[in-house]
């Protein structure tokens, strides 16, 4: 075999290796680019799941002491959050933001939207929720229940909570660490959108999502809040 043939074969091998390395680097990069481009083109503000996944059908008790299952709300958008009435900041802020979103919806959309707050605190009775939720909106729903049922609901939605140690001598005076997501469940009972806590002040954009999920024309939304 001549040295020339050796050299050609070696060049081909090097070219093949370079091509393979380029492909290994560029293909995942392209995948990332397309995925980012696809995400930015999404009409949804929250993290939208295009796959229809039935939301966990919880069975809890509302602020009037009546049983309420998620399936009772079928046909409506449900905006669901978990927390507790003694929460110093996250829950009042989230519910305040949800109230602002609700007020921005057209009357037709408001008829089809239920905002539900599930307390993960066993100290929160229906009566406590009945006092608490109207501070934000008189149409909001407060939910509580057997700790096992509340725990099952929280786990099913990926919500985390944990009783924090009491700081003072009064052991009943404790806080609860909890996750801060808000979940949008569509009228067919599918868990569709996840909102992070830091997204919640974007009232207009969340209202757009809600009306889009209801199949209403977003442009017709009336802004009733300045």
């Amino acid at each position: 075999m001549s040295p020339r043939i050796h050299s050609d074969a070696r060049s081909r091998r090097i070219a093949l290796i370079i091509t393979a390395v380029c492909a290994a680097v560029s293909i995942p990069a392209l995948v990332v680019l397309f995925s980012v481009a696809g995400r930015s083109a999404s009409p949804w503000f929250g993290q939208y799941d295009s796959e229809a996944r039935p939301a966990y059908d919880f069975s809890l008790t509302d602020q009037n002491g009546n049983p309420l299952h998620l399936h009772d709300l079928r046909g409506n958008i449900v905006l669901l959050s978990f927390g507790f009435t003694r929460c110093p900041n996250i829950c009042p802020t989230t519910l305040g933001n949800l109230a602002a979103v609700f007020r921005r919806l057209s009357p037709a959309a408001q008829e089809k939207v239920k905002v539900a707050f599930v307390s993960v605190d066993e100290r929160d009775t229906p009566a406590a929720l009945k006092e608490y939720v109207p501070f934000f909106h008189d149409r909001f729903i407060g939910l509580t229940g057997d700790p096992a049922d509340v725990g099952a609901a929280a786990r099913a939605y990926g919500a985390f909570f944990r009783k924090a140690p009491a700081v003072g001598e009064d052991k009943s005076d404790y806080m609860i660490d909890h996750s801060t997501y808000t979940y949008l469940i569509d009228p067919d009972g599918n868990l569709r959108i996840l909102y992070r806590f830091d997204q919640m002040p974007e009232h207009e954009r969340i209202a757009d999502d809600v009306e889009r999920a209801l199949g209403l024309p977003v442009a017709e939304r009336q802004t009733v809040e300045k």
Binding site: V32, R86, N89, P201
Partner: protein
């Protein structure tokens, strides 16, 4: 994403995360920044509030009184009915005692006073520390009557 692409994607994502500057973690320091981050959504950037929903700060009688009142409300929050300029407000203001340090509470209280009640005495970090201590056993969200 196909099986082959996922590890590569994760790899790129993780390496990107390592390069992420820490600046995305909000660290408001000035009174104005804290106001924007914690107060403006309800009280509005101009302090006018939202009629019937969030009371105005710009015309609040609280700013006429002792600055301790404002600090106490920032620390404990507030709930229940209040009437301002003929409007009734019934809601909950969050407590910021766990989120904001003494200097930050002093800064945002001074920002509120400087904008809507200029000439008010300065709120100091020591003053906030004292009120935090005094109110440490108080329940969050007092009503207006309980604040008196």
């Amino acid at each position: 994403m196909s099986g082959w692409a996922r590890p590569a994607f994760l790899c790129l994502l993780l390496s990107a995360c390592n390069e992420e500057p820490l600046a995305y973690i909000p660290a408001p320091l000035t009174g104005r920044e804290i106001y924007q981050a914690k107060c403006a959504a309800c009280h509005q950037p101009d302090g006018a509030g939202i009629p019937g929903i969030c009371p105005p700060l710009s015309t609040s009688p609280r700013l006429d009184g002792n600055t301790d009142d404002v600090v106490r409300i920032i620390l404990l929050g507030m709930k229940g009915s209040i009437v301002r300029e003929g409007q009734t407000y019934s809601g909950i203001m969050p407590s910021w005692k766990f989120d904001l340090g003494d200097a930050q509470i002093a800064a945002v209280a001074n920002e509120v006073h400087a904008r809507w009640k200029p000439g008010s005495p300065e709120v100091t970090e020591e003053q906030v520390r004292r009120i935090r201590e005094e109110t440490s056993k108080q329940k969050l969200f007092p009503t207006e009557a309980e604040l008196r």
